[in-house]
């Protein structure tokens, strides 16, 4: 029988150790040739050692296990390791992919070892399509789980010596001030370098509206709009004294309200 090699990728050292020691007991002939601490290392070490089996933790810093799997693809037998992630377990089950749920007991690992061994005894042709589908599915799932919006959620502004992250929902309005923009929010006001035009593109139009060449207002903080002469209007804000101008070309923003 030829030499069988494996790579273990997990960001938690104790878990790498546990997997190594369990494998040593259950499959003495298996040689764990490398330990990786993240997805990037896993791919690099895989390319150096080209092991036949890769144990991949799903959740790892930087590049995660799913992205590493995409990179390694069909060049090895993959076994995913995950801690209570129902969506991942479901995907593995449906795609008939090998996986372990942490914390796993030795009997469960023995099953996996048994399956891997039979596969090596037979022809090592894995069903690649199922794997690809599972990887794609989990990859998009993981992207959704790290919520990032298309619009600004925070406005970074220098206040004193530090940079504050102001939640956009606390911003009352933004007003052009020469080269800068004045941000006025519940906790104060500050100048930022971004222009009104840039901000108009980056802020969620559901919440923010440009009402004047130099003014963007948070619609949730508007208490009243008073019509003025010449198709203009003035905005009153909740709990604030100042009035904001609405110029002719932006009055339509309030038409339907």
């Amino acid at each position: 029988m030829t030499r069988v090699t494996a790579l273990v990728a997990d960001d938690e050292p104790l878990l790498r150790e546990r997997l190594r020691s369990n494998l040593a007991r259950l499959w003495p002939e298996l040689e764990v040739v490398a330990d990786a601490r993240n997805g990037r290392e896993a791919v690099e070490l895989f390319d150096i050692h080209l092991p036949q089996i890769v144990f991949l933790d799903v959740h790892m810093p930087g590049m995660n296990g799913i992205d590493a799997a995409r990179s390694i693809a069909r060049r090895a037998q993959l076994v995913f390791v995950t801690a209570y992630e129902q969506y991942a377990v479901q995907a593995f089950e449906q795609g008939a992919i090998d996986y372990l749920v942490k914390p796993f007991d030795e009997a469960r690992l023995a099953d996996t070892v048994q399956r891997l061994r039979t596969r090596f005894d037979q022809a090592p042709a894995a069903s690649g399509n199922a794997l690809d589908a599972v990887i794609e599915r989990l990859s998009s799932e993981l992207r959704q789980r790290t919520p990032s919006s298309a619009y600004l959620q925070w406005i970074k502004a220098s206040v004193g010596q530090s940079v504050r992250l102001i939640p956009v929902e606390q911003v009352a309005y933004l007003k052009a001030d020469e080269k800068y923009t004045l941000v006025v929010w519940e906790g104060g006001e500050a100048l930022i370098r971004k222009s009104i035009r840039e901000l108009a593109d980056e802020l969620d139009p559901e919440r923010f509206a440009q009402v004047h060449r130099s003014v963007i207002v948070n619609l949730h903080q508007v208490s009243q709009v008073n019509r003025g002469p010449n198709e203009t209007a003035e905005i009153q804000l909740k709990g604030r004294k100042e009035l904001l101008p609405v110029s002719r070309s932006f009055v339509h923003v309030f038409r339907q309200m």
């Binding site: 878990l15 990037r40 810093p61 801690a83 209570y84 914390p103 959620q153 925070w154």
Partner: protein, 356 residues
């Protein structure tokens, strides 16, 4: 959002011209006419007609000025002055038809001049007084409106506080964290590591602190510090090569009341979104300080990956904001700052009035 539109004036004016107001104005006109009747030679009906016309003109002036709402003076003052000014003009105007529009005819006739002066005087007393009364009533209505608004806001706040508490009771201990930690403990136990006992102690301390509790009125900053210390010690076992941490709360602040789990939320965020996503990891620093201003600042700083402007705030931060609002009202706030040279600093600032 309501659209208040003073233009065109017609619609608003009509809406404000209530039956009640018209009735009061006309009743007042009857009283003035009745008082003046014995003095006047003019038949009562004519006199009544004149006072009624004047009353209606004054009412229209009052309403019109009320709609105008000038920004340079209080509306009630403008209304009182406007009505006073309208009195002589209106009175003069009602005399004109009786002389066929001849102005000099009014002024040349002595009886008419004294009649004009009498009606004007009476109206000048009655008109502005009524105006003032009406303005005060309007103000009262506004104040009532506002107090209702406040009551509504208060009840919304109370509901939010309840929601926040319910969410707190709901699955605060993340299964992912728990099972990963247990997997580590399993390895320590199976390999007979001497680390097993202290790690289990931390796990027990963490679970005890993180257990949902109904009443956190007696939770202190010292309790929270112990909880986050246990949590960070467990995370250190899991990522010894990537995590460094310090928890340093001054002794004097440990007895201070502090909402349970508030500090843990910030520390969990620092691990999950700051240190854990980074291959190199980072340091977490938990501290507290009483400022010269009396404000208490409790902070969690991490040197992790920081936060992009487009990262959506997790439910943890949103819930924490709601809880701070529920516990402290406006006397506490959560601030997020960029940590130099990298990472994020989250701090809870509690004003002296609220910290005990």
């Amino acid at each position: 959002m309501n659209m208040v539109s003073p233009n065109p004036p017609g619609s608003g004016l009509l809406a404000a011209l209530t039956l009640r107001r018209v009735t009061i104005a006309l009743a007042l006109a009857v009283v003035v006419a009745a008082v003046l009747n014995p003095i006047f030679v003019t038949p009562f009906v004519v006199l009544l007609g004149r006072t009624m016309v004047i009353a209606m003109v004054l009412l229209l002036v009052f309403i019109g000025l009320g709609q105008w709402r000038p920004s340079w003076a209080p509306t009630w003052l403008v209304q009182v002055l406007g009505v006073a000014l309208a009195v002589p003009i209106a009175t003069f105007a009602v005399y004109l038809p009786s002389v066929g529009g001849d102005v000099t005819a009014v002024l040349s006739h002595e009886d008419r001049v004294s009649g004009f002066l009498l009606i004007a005087l009476c109206s000048l007393i009655a008109g502005p007084l009524m105006t003032l009364g009406a303005a005060v009533r309007e103000r009262d209505a506004q104040a009532r409106n506002q107090s209702l608004q406040f009551a509504l806001e208060r009840s919304t706040l109370e509901r939010q506080a309840l929601d926040a508490r319910l969410r707190l009771l709901h699955a605060q201990i993340e299964p992912h964290f728990l099972f990963n930690t247990l997997a580590n403990v399993q390895e320590l136990v199976e390999s007979g590591s001497p680390q097993a006992a202290p790690v289990l102690r931390n796990l027990i301390a963490y679970l005890r602190g993180a257990m949902p509790r109904l009443n956190d009125a007696d939770a202190t900053l010292g309790d929270e510090a112990e909880l986050v210390h246990a949590y960070l010690a467990l995370m250190l076992m899991r990522m010894p090569d990537r995590l460094r941490f310090t928890v340093d709360i001054p002794q004097a602040l440990k007895g201070m009341h502090f909402p349970s789990m508030a500090l843990l939320t910030l520390v969990e965020n620092a691990v999950r979104h700051g240190v854990d996503p980074s291959e190199q990891g980072g340091a977490i620093e938990v501290g507290a300080r009483r400022e010269a201003s009396g404000d208490t600042v409790v902070w969690v700083a991490d040197s992790g990956v920081g936060m992009s402007e487009k990262t959506a705030a997790g439910t943890g931060l949103t819930n924490l904001r709601a809880r701070l609002k529920a516990v402290y009202g406006d006397a506490a706030r959560l601030e997020l700052l960029e940590h130099t040279p990298q990472g994020l600093r989250a701090q809870i600032v509690i004003e002296p009035s609220a910290s005990t």
